[in-house]
Amino acid sequence: MYDLLIAPFTEFEFMRRALAGTLALALGAAPIGVFLMLRRMSLVGDAMAHAILPGAAIGFLLSGLNLFAMTGGGLIAGFVVALLTGLVARTTELKEDAALATFYLLSLALGVTIISLKGTNIDLLHVLFGNVLALDDQTLLLIAGNATVTLIALALIYRPLVVECVDPGFMRSVSAAGGPAHLAFLVLVVLNLVSGFHALGTLLAVGIMMLPAAIGRFWARDITLMLLIATASGALAGYAGLLLSFHTGVASGPAIILVAGVLYVISLLFGRVGGLLRQAFPGRHLEA
């Protein structure tokens, strides 16, 4: 049992680093995912993950596989798309989804063009799938730093974020903080995508956000509990996914997301809140 569950982490430093990275990632990304889901923006994360590509690609073009260049570029591209989207959605008839769709597709096309100008298949694989087993000090610090910033910022904007989400009309009538809180939230989304980008790649970065959030929804009727469950299941998926990858030799990023997928299917079937079995066999009706 020890050999199976703990030894990989005590014996191999790269596994310890990977574990620290995934736990930090889950800590920041899972709560962000919950808010994305509650704001009906589940696919926005996915779109944003593509939107950061040209920035990262320009960074790569300028200085190769350099952490800071790619991160900075990704952040800038993500922020530009997020801000443009927010601006267009708030000032014109285009809704957020339509505004984002236009900008992220342009961004993605730009990113792929830039990568195809210079680059090899290996570089592309790194960008698409990340590599959680090869996190260096800098990357680890970046992920941990992003998680810290995310949690502190979420604590600061928690109230307007929740109120704007559940009753935007009321939010507008009592305070002007709704708009800035929403923009700050979009910035946090990008920040966590950049973290996820290094560990899991652009394709799977959203997985560690959205799957834990969806799991939480099946177990909690209250947002506080939902956030806790999402974070815990994200961390569990990270831990179990790394073990699965270590023992079977499958790629670590997909392994983490697949474990989260298993947790999701279990929740879908057995979840206390709207799980399928619960719906199929609700028990006899009550007296009152």
Binding site: L38, L156, R159, P160, V162, V163, C165, V166, D167, P168, G169, F170, R172, S173, V174, S175, A177, R217, A220, R221, D222, I223, M226
Partner: protein, 249 residues
């Protein structure tokens, strides 16, 4: 008496078409005013203007030193996401926003106030219920509890008793009368003319332009109501630009 609000030749609308046209006059502090008129008469538009959601085309609203945020506003169809995982208690607690703001704590006094507000609307025992499980009437009761906590000097209610049963509307109207007794200024959009005659001292009859405004008995005459009904509901796409201010009938 001093005015809580004063409209100065106010015109509000959408896409250059006026929905409230040249409204002039004061709402005295402590007044209980029914705003009556057919659908499309501009009642909701007027309220949106008062709380600052809609900017006037012309004229202005004098809030007597209040900020729009100081006005408690219950929209006709609250944009509430009823599937959001939040309890009745937290929803009501939002009413403390003006005092607690972004970071302020909820202390023992505040908790007691929240519980009193929940009790006042008859929702005691529902504190830990998810809002998704509430009926329409219970939802409206919860929103009134939130209004209670907002403790505002001016309260604007847009058709608050639509689609709730007689018991609920009677209970909620008790709260409106309590606010009136506390000398708060209350504007309420209403469709039930008989109810307005029985309970509201003052009425503003709107049909895009103000038809009449004053004591309810003198406003809700058959002639005035007929005049309000004749108002054309659709915007005229060919309408000329309005240059002459018209005065209230």
């Amino acid at each position: 008496m001093t005015a809580a609000l004063r409209f100065h030749d106010l015109t509000l609308g959408y896409d250059r078409h006026p929905a409230v046209h040249h409204l002039d006059g004061p709402v005295e502090a402590g007044a209980l005013v029914a705003v009556v008129g057919p659908n499309g008469a501009g009642k909701s538009t007027l309220f949106k203007g008062i709380v600052g959601v809609l900017k006037p085309f012309a004229g202005r609203i004098d809030l007597g030193g209040l900020k729009p945020q100081d006005i408690a506003y219950l929209p006709q169809a609250a944009e509430i996401d009823r599937s959001f995982p939040i309890h009745v208690y937290d929803m009501v607690a939002m009413g403390l926003w003006r005092r607690a703001g972004l970071f302020g704590g909820i202390d023992g006094n505040a908790r007691a106030a929240i519980e009193r507000a929940i009790a006042a609307v008859g929702l005691t025992g529902f504190e830990d219920r998810a809002i998704a499980t509430l009926s329409g009437g219970q939802m409206q009761r919860m929103l009134f509890a939130r209004l209670l906590l907002q403790d505002a000097r001016v309260i604007v209610l847009d058709e608050p008793f639509n689609a709730v049963d007689a018991k609920t509307s009677a209970d909620l109207f008790d709260l409106v009368q309590r606010w009136h007794g506390e000398r708060r200024t209350v504007l309420t959009a209403m469709h039930d003319i008989d109810f307005v005659r029985a309970h509201f001292p003052e009425t503003l009859l709107l049909a895009r332009s103000p038809v009449a405004w004053g004591r309810t008995a003198t406003v809700l005459t058959p002639e005035n109501l007929l005049a309000a009904r004749r108002m054309c509901e659709a915007f005229d796409e060919q309408a000329a630009e309005c240059v002459e201010p018209v005065t209230a009938a």
